[in-house]
């Protein structure tokens, strides 16, 4: 109710504004004001994720977007509005769940998280997959060996373990590691839901 009233109000301001400008336009025969009006209807300036750069190595988001297996993750990143954070200079280490990992969640979970009202919950879950640090595979092994936990952007800690078949983070196995311009992507097949 409040929202619709607000929207109506905004519409009103806009109409009045445009109308009064229109009058001025016809009087002074301006041609530039139309261009400026067009410009002003654009969304507010985007953050770093909007930077066009085809020369640097790909960052976390660019790599994730280039692979079909991360389409759910990419949708979630965008829905949570954290796309600017994952392209940040970091350094960042991201444990990236593949689509199948999201499928493992109880039915309806993903759809629910993608709803606007759950934006902050979704963001919290995603930040539990991001360490503000530079952890290549070797460093992960070392963390495990030394019993050092990983501090995640969610504020939670994840345990790293060296097992016979590989490295485990938060109980799930690192399937593959990819160097990206702003850190590392480690592919996992479970979502690391914060406790």
């Amino acid at each position: 109710m409040k929202n619709s009233r607000f929207a109506f109000f905004a519409f009103l301001i806009l109409t009045i504004g445009l109308y009064s400008c229109g009058m001025e336009d016809s009087k002074s025969n301006q041609n530039s004001s139309n261009d400026d009006a067009m410009k002003s209807t654009e969304a507010p300036a985007k953050g770093q994720s909007a930077v066009v750069d085809n020369v640097s190595d790909a960052n976390v988001l660019q790599v994730a977007k280039s692979l079909d297996d991360f389409s759910t993750l990419v949708v979630a990143i965008e829905a949570a509005g954290v796309e600017d954070a994952v392209v940040n200079t970091g350094p960042l280490t991201i444990f990236a769940p593949v689509n199948a990992a999201f499928d493992k969640l109880p039915e309806g979970t993903v759809a629910g998280l993608l709803k606007p009202e759950n934006k902050s919950t979704l963001a919290f879950i995603l930040t539990n997959h991001v360490a503000p640090a530079n952890y290549p595979e070797k460093q992960l092994k070392k963390q495990a060996k030394k019993g050092r936990k990983l501090y995640m952007a969610s504020g939670k800690y994840l345990v790293v373990e060296n097992k016979d078949d590989g490295i485990y983070v938060g109980g799930t196995k690192v399937i593959k590691s990819v160097k990206v311009s702003n850190g590392w992507i480690h592919v996992i097949d479970n979502v690391l839901v914060p406790e």
Binding site: G17, N59, T89, P91, K119, S120, P132, G183
Partner: protein
């Protein structure tokens, strides 16, 4: 959250309305003069928006070249050219020190004057920008892809390389004319023997069209006049170069009086195409000389200095028909050629007129031999025979003229502190606007080409006085931006500059922006001490030299704990930035090192030297705020006494880099 969203929408809506209305109101205010909002809006570039033009304004006695956006006047970058720049490690790192080598040894400072952008077919092509150094005569070439100095050529037989660094319309040559007459080659003689013993060299540097590399093709040994400024012919006058001169009196003392005696000095007209033909036929004498040629390489990321040993000298009497003098009143400074190439404008600093010579009349005069004798074997063309006309009483102290596409010249007047717009053909003043104060040169982007971009004019002032908040006895230096798109000029903006804003060149932003280099590819790095992966980082002792092959990546150095260094060692930090991400340089500085930091771009290797004098454990750290963990990017070097038996060791996180767990 919702509230934030709502207020955001409200702001957007509101600004939409305001922006939409904005220009209408602003145009209405256009006639209200400088104090109305209109000027501010026209120089305003909104956050996140880009400027329409690049302005390259020399830093004068700072020795550098500064890059501004126009119309905003925002400073983007100071390109170090002739002076050390500790902020960027230029002239401090082992790789860049050779850039500042000269025949006089390492010179840490220079006086940069006249930048000029390379051209193709008389139009700006945006490949390179050239700039001269006055004190230790040099010409530099700067890449407009990296915005870094790529080459510096010292000019032999020259002193005060002022009449430089202007390029011909296909960038065949960049010129370097000497401001001082000097004994050539140098010799130990009384100063009073100036006349006929002192010479003025006009040097033509050939530019390699592929890579921009310069070499001195020939040097014309002119009489010992003082060559001031120069501009190339274009269109029909392509193939000629025009140099203004003063002190045709050949005085060596109290020039302010003694060099102002003659009613007319000369503009020297040089037919360089003809001289090229003479040179091809073997004319000229190769003479011994010694001058440094410094070249930067973006693969080795290192500069090298080559000492050149000879230069081809052309004497005017050897090249008949190639050199003429055009009499021009009262110590001409500016020597400017309009976009058509027909008019050569001489601005006598002390003259009550602006002199306009005609190229076509000059050719006719040469054909008719309309000469008033000769001096030092150079024919002096009859003034009336070459002169198109004069702009009478335009102001006091004319200096420099640039041009629009509508047949107008814009001339600065130092003494009367103004810019005057005038029609060249009609020789009438159209408009005049004050400058604040004592303007020197001015710049219209492309103003020295066939195709000026005549929307803005930048006036560079010598005196600022009360224009800004005071900062002690040294007032800030200043430039002013005028809108010249209309009949009358309008002052839009004052903006402060570095050094002395001596002279400038400008071009449309889209000529350069898309090709600006973002990173250096690590795979293309052929620096002998490049370390391309952390696993390869190491420390090697060679006698008392210790070479650290160090890498940098967000957010650590490798190695970061080093032991076994001793007092008296010479420690080389060869640091490679492993990043391949735009705008992620790393810096490094070492406590106790007698040098600057390094600021290393992605993919590049740089070196600084530290000679530890005291035992202890000394830290180094990253100086550029590279990442969230920038503050953690640091390390230690342990320094033991001379003669200590502690071997070199190096680790990161208690492991030797590259060793498997």
């Amino acid at each position: 959250m919702k509230r934030i969203l709502k207020s955001t929408i409200a702001i957007i809506v509101l600004s939409m309305v305001m922006v939409a209305c904005g220009p209408t109101t602003s145009k209405k205010g256009g006639s209200k003069g400088v104090l109305s909002g209109s000027q501010a809006e026209r120089a305003y570039v909104a956050p996140g928006e880009h400027d329409e033009y690049y302005g390259f304004i020399s830093g004068g006695f700072s020795g550098q070249l500064a890059v501004y956006g126009l119309p905003s006047g925002r400073l983007f970058r100071v390109i170090p050219v002739f002076s050390q720049d500790p902020e960027k490690g230029y002239g401090y790192s082992e790789e860049t020190i050779p850039m500042l080598m000269t025949s006089h040894g390492f010179v840490p400072w220079g006086d940069s004057h006249h930048p000029d952008i390379s051209q193709t077919n008389g139009e700006l092509d945006g490949r390179w920008i050239f700039i001269n150094e006055n004190n230790t005569p040099r010409v530099a070439r700067i890449s407009l892809e990296t915005f870094e100095t790529e080459e510096i050529m010292e000019i032999p037989n020259s002193a005060g390389n002022h009449s430089s660094a202007f390029v011909t319309e296909n960038s065949e040559y960049v010129v370097a004319g000497t401001r001082f007459g000097v004994p050539t080659p140098q010799k130990d003689i009384p100063i009073s023997e100036y006349k006929s013993n002192f010479k003025g060299s006009l040097t033509f540097l050939k530019i390699d069209p592929e890579n921009g590399l310069m070499n001195i093709a020939f040097q014309i040994r002119m009489p010992g006049f003082n060559f001031d400024l120069a501009h190339p012919g274009r269109g029909d006058s392509h193939g000629w170069f025009f140099f203004s001169s003063y002190n045709t009196e050949e005085a060596s003392t109290l020039l302010e009086v003694n060099a102002s005696q003659n009613d007319k000095d000369f503009i020297a007209a040089i037919n360089w195409k003809k001289i090229e033909e003479y040179v091809a036929q073997g004319v000229g004498t190769m003479e011994p000389a010694r001058y440094a040629h410094n070249v930067w390489d973006d693969h080795t990321h290192t500069a090298t200095t080559t000492m050149e040993k000879e230069v081809l000298i052309i004497n005017p009497e050897d090249v008949p028909g190639a050199i003429y003098f055009l009499p021009t009143p009262k110590s001409p400074h500016g020597c400017d050629v309009d976009p058509t190439g027909e008019y050569i404008i001489g601005s006598g600093k002390l003259a009550a007129t602006i002199t306009v010579h005609s190229f076509s009349k000059m050719l006719k005069a040469i054909e008719d031999k309309a000469f008033d004798g000769e001096t030092y074997s150079i024919p002096i063309i009859n003034y009336e025979a070459v002169n198109y006309g004069s702009l009478e009483q335009p102001g006091l102290g004319p200096l420099h003229t640039e041009f629009d596409t509508r047949g107008n010249g814009y001339t600065t007047f130092f003494i009367s502190s103004e810019v005057v717009k005038w029609n060249i053909k009609d020789l009438v003043v159209i408009d005049r606007k004050p400058t604040f104060y004592s303007v020197g040169h001015l710049m219209i982007p492309g103003g020295n080409s066939r195709k000026p971009f005549d929307k803005y004019l930048v006036a560079m002032n010598k005196i600022t006085k009360d224009r800004y908040l005071p900062t002690g006895p040294e007032a800030c230096q200043s430039a002013q931006l005028y809108d010249i798109s209309g009949e009358k000029m309008e002052l839009l903006l004052d903006f402060p500059t570095i050094g002395e804003p001596h002279y400038a060149a400008g071009c449309p932003a889209d000529l350069l922006a898309s090709k600006s280099v973002k990173i250096f590819k690590l795979e293309d790095n052929t620096h002998p001490y490049a370390t391309k992966s952390e696993a390869d980082s190491k420390v090697v002792r060679k006698g008392n030299e210790v070479h650290i092959y160090m890498t940098m990546i967000r957010s650590h150095f490798s190695p970061d704990n080093i032991e076994g260094v001793k007092v008296g060692d010479k420690v080389f930090f060869h640091v490679t930035n492993l990043e391949q991400d735009f705008d992620v340089p790393h810096g490094i500085s070492m406590l106790g090192a007698n040098t600057s930091e390094l600021l290393t771009m992605p993919g590049r290797t740089e070196t600084f030297v530290w000679e530890p004098k005291e035992i202890g454990v000394w830290p180094f750290y990253c100086t550029d705020f590279c990442s969230a963990l920038h503050q953690e990017m640091q390390g230690y070097v342990r320094v033991s006494p001379k003669g200590s038996k502690i071997p070199i060791s190096y680790t990161i996180d208690e492991e030797v880099p590259g060793e498997d767990l």
